[in-house]
């Protein structure tokens, strides 16, 4: 309980001001498509140069926490995931918004983010020494299987046909290979100079989700555009509701914490795997993708639960487990603080103040987030033709701002128009995005694993033996068989109801 001794430092007037500023700013920045948590933290680093180490870290930590949650706002309201971690949030969050439940979806999102986030930080506070070693156990073969586990989620991603889902997944994997190969540095499928940089994940996310939606709005627009309805929803009801969804919250937190600990896995896998598992354990899996609150809860609990654990390898071993953690490492080094096993002994004040600020930051995020969701009505009540224009502006702006690259905007627009046509044939964007996100993780780790395996005992022992490999493979088999089982069961149920 050592952390409680340093709680006061968070509440000094200046530190608390910085915390509020970071949280509110992070929510707003996170809600802008294109501005990922990593980018937000990197942009803030220069501001911390002139601050006390503790205040600087509070700013960075608050911004990290809040941007992760803020990404859900555009996912729910505009169908644009703010960051890859919010892909799973789009599926049911936006469907809820379309059903007139935008306020409820946002409240669910912030409350479950807060619960997941706090649990994740408790893991960081109490179990760091035990978990640090475990986090390092993951090598290339394990990360390859992790990515494969992510791929098995395709069946859950809202395609009505498993075959179409798989085809979309393959297209996504192919898109992820465009550009320079990460390991060998060879160019692949780069027919024009616009593709030499590869397809940036954010450009793909925005293009595949936002553009088809804009085109559909234009298509529908006969008489001035339709206005989405939105029921106001009292917060206390949502709080009560969330605490009744123990299953979704538990699955979300556990998946988020485990995935967060693994360096190189990332929030997108956490959100997707948790969404998939919650669907499988749900009594009404058919509601997923049509506005099921559990879908939003599972995805958002998971992607915030990973914030705390993702800092375990950084703080104890000086090994950043995610791009955002790498930027935070810079923030520590700049003040001459070297993370490592002795961090909490050498700099207890700074370290514990930082962790406490993450904890309080989660609570502030919930408060500010709920306040923000009241404003959501203003967005949702925009007539559709204005909304289409706004989304398009945000899409172009968000894509361009990632790397200041015009090529990214072209890629975004091309993918978007392609996706619009593709949707006419019953294909959906989510499996394609899954392929784009997981492809590089799978490929890179397979390529590295192959080199290491060939220098050792060969491919089969390297990839197919050892407790971790076998556990992951077992999970993959389980995930596939349960998908098949649920598919068959739901078909039978439909036949029964038709008969």
């Amino acid at each position: 309980m050592e952390f409680l001794n340093y709680m006061g430092a968070v509440f000094t007037p200046f530190n608390f001001f910085v915390l509020c500023l970071g949280t509110a700013g992070g929510l707003i920045l996170g809600a802008l498509p294109g501005l990922s948590p990593t980018m937000a933290v990197a942009l803030l680093i220069p501001f911390t140069f002139h601050m006390e180490p503790a205040a600087g870290l509070i700013l960075l930590g608050a911004a990290y926490t809040a941007t992760v949650a803020g990404g859900a706002v555009s996912a729910i309201l505009l169908k644009i995931p703010g960051a890859p971690a919010n892909i799973a949030t789009v599926l049911d969050g936006h469907a809820m918004a379309r059903n007139g439940q935008a306020a409820k979806a946002l409240q669910l999102c912030f409350i479950s983010s807060g619960i997941g986030g706090v649990l994740g930080i408790f893991v960081l506070i109490f179990f760091t020494p035990i978990l640090a070693k475990w986090a390092l156990a993951f090598g290339p073969s394990h990360l390859f299987w992790m990515a494969m586990l992510g791929v098995t989620v395709i069946a859950s991603l809202g395609s009505r046909s498993a075959v179409k889902g798989l085809i979309s997944g393959c297209i996504g994997l192919w898109i992820s290979t465009i550009g320079y190969d990460q390991i060998e540095g060879v160019e692949r499928f780069t027919f024009t100079e616009h593709l030499t940089g590869g397809i940036h994940t954010i450009a793909a996310l925005v293009g595949l989700f936002a553009v088809p939606q804009v085109l559909q709005m234009i298509e529908r627009r006969g008489g001035g555009g339709e206005v989405l309805a939105m029921e106001q929803h009292p917060v206390w009801q949502t709080v009560k509701f969330v605490f009744g969804r123990i299953r979704a919250i538990s699955i979300g937190s556990i998946v988020g914490i485990i995935v967060g600990l693994i360096p190189g896995a990332g929030g997108q896998i956490a959100g997707l795997v948790s969404y998939d598992q919650t669907r499988k354990f749900s009594k009404n899996p058919d509601n997923f993708g049509k506005g099921e609150p559990d879908g939003v809860i599972a995805a958002e609990t998971a992607n915030n639960a990973m914030v705390g654990p993702s800092l375990v390898p950084l703080l104890t071993l000086s090994v950043p487990g995610s791009p955002t953690a790498a930027v935070l490492l810079g923030g520590l080094l700049i003040h001459g603080i070297f993370p490592g096993p002795d961090l909490f002994i050498d700099y207890p004040e700074v370290s514990w103040t930082f962790i406490n600020s993450l904890l309080i930051g989660q609570l502030l995020m919930v408060v500010f987030g709920l306040a923000l969701s009241r404003l959501a009505a203003k967005v949702i009540r925009l007539p559709e033709n204005y909304l289409a224009a706004t989304v398009m502006v945000l899409a172009v702006f968000g894509t361009y701002s990632v790397q200041h690259s015009y090529s990214d905007v072209l890629v975004m627009a091309t993918l978007g128009v392609g996706m619009y046509l593709f949707e006419k044939f019953g294909y959906t964007a989510a499996p394609i995005v899954l392929g784009i996100v997981l492809g590089p993780i799978a490929e890179r780790n397979f390529a590295q694993g192959r080199i290491i395996a060939n220098a050792g005992d060969g491919m089969a022992p390297y990839f197919l033996s050892g407790g971790l490999n076998l556990t992951l493979i077992a999970l993959i088999v389980l995930s596939i068989t349960s998908s098949v089982y649920f598919e068959i069961r739901s078909r039978k149920q439909k036949e029964v109801s038709h008969a």
């Binding site: 220069p46 030499t196 790397q403 220098a455 050792g456």
Partner: protein
């Protein structure tokens, strides 16, 4: 309706064109707006981290009087960012990039890249980070000699990782394999941080990594040798490769600095070089870099030009069998 939209569009276009400066400002006024600096690596990487520190004072009156804004364009070990920079950046002094030697020179030799020492202009160098050979804490290897002895007995079995292909670590690896006469296996990673992680956790048997990063991880890895001409102040007890009988010189030392596109006027280059060297020498910058464990090595434009030429000659020879 259509006409209104058309006239609106024309009006918008006209204003945009009008506000874009049409005349190239003369060098005397330079710089009159913020200067961009492309970093070809991820935010949070060593190059990005150092670039942010060394340019933090650019906005001060006695230096550039204008801030330098960092843009990250990562991908393929720097190829994505540098390709765009060399083929697209304007030579008006407002678009600069950070270079890493030997990375960009080695890539230019092996691949047909639009960048190379003849296509860009050096401004000034801020840092020099030698590669060091590291092994996990519980490794049986305690010296470079142990590693060589094992590799001689077990050809193609010893795995050594590094931040990627044709970066400083890879060059150190190639030199080490060549000079020790051993057959090793190189495992390219996608950055120094994941490479370090895989050495700490024993996924590979050894690795070449940045001295600055290894220095901070001394209680988790053993540092066996420095790929430089002399021992380093940060690690006075770690011997060089030469001391241990393997003739690896300083060709893999990671030099970091600022460059400009070909065609930038001599006036602007001279101005930038002078200001950059002064800025890098500022006590504040030096203090932050030291606190972060990042070794500095400030060089003027002329010194960098000489260093680039020397590297080009040596690397062309080392990499001649690998040219694609």
């Amino acid at each position: 309706m259509k006409k209104t939209i058309q006239s609106l569009l024309t009006a918008v276009l006209a204003t945009t064109v009008a506000t874009v400066p049409t005349l190239v400002a003369s060098a005397a006024d330079y710089p009159e707006r913020p200067v961009s600096l492309v970093v070809a690596y991820n935010p949070g990487g060593a190059t990005d981290f150092q670039a942010r520190i060394v340019t933090m004072l650019a906005g001060k009156e006695n230096y550039m009087n204008m801030p330098m804004v960092i843009f990250n364009r990562p991908g393929a070990g720097g190829k994505v960012g540098w390709t765009q920079f060399a083929s697209k950046a304007k030579s008006d002094g407002y678009e600069l990039a950070a270079y890493n030697v030997p990375h960009f020179i080695a890539q230019a030799i092996v691949f047909k890249t639009p960048y190379g020492i003849d296509n860009v202009e050096p401004v000034a160098n801020w840092g020099a980070d030698p590669a060091v050979l590291i092994v996990p804490k519980d490794s049986p290897f305690n010296s470079v000699k142990d590693v060589v002895a094992f590799a001689k007995k077990n050809p193609d079995k010893l795995t050594i990782n590094g931040a990627g292909l044709y970066v400083g670590h890879h060059i150190a690896y190639l030199q080490f394999a060549k000079e020790s006469g051993t057959k090793l296996v190189y495992v390219p990673e996608t950055g120094g941080a994941p490479a370090l992680k895989n050495v700490i956790s024993g996924q590979v048997m050894a690795g070449f990594n940045n001295l600055s990063d290894a220095f901070r991880s001394q209680d988790r890895v053993k540092i066996l040798g420095i790929a430089d001409l002399e021992r380093h102040d940060f690690l006075p007890d770690v011997p060089t490769f030469k001391e241990q009988g393997v003739s690896v010189d300083n060709s893999s030392v990671n030099f970091r600095g600022i460059m400009a596109p070909k065609g930038t006027s001599e006036e602007i280059l001279a101005y930038l070089s002078e200001k950059a060297v002064a800025m890098f020498g500022d006590g504040k910058v030096q203090g932050k870099m030291k606190a972060g464990g990042s070794p500095m090595h400030v060089m003027t434009r002329a010194e960098v030009q000489a260093m680039w030429k020397e590297r080009q000659a040596y690397l062309s020879d080392l990499l001649k069998d690998l040219v694609q």
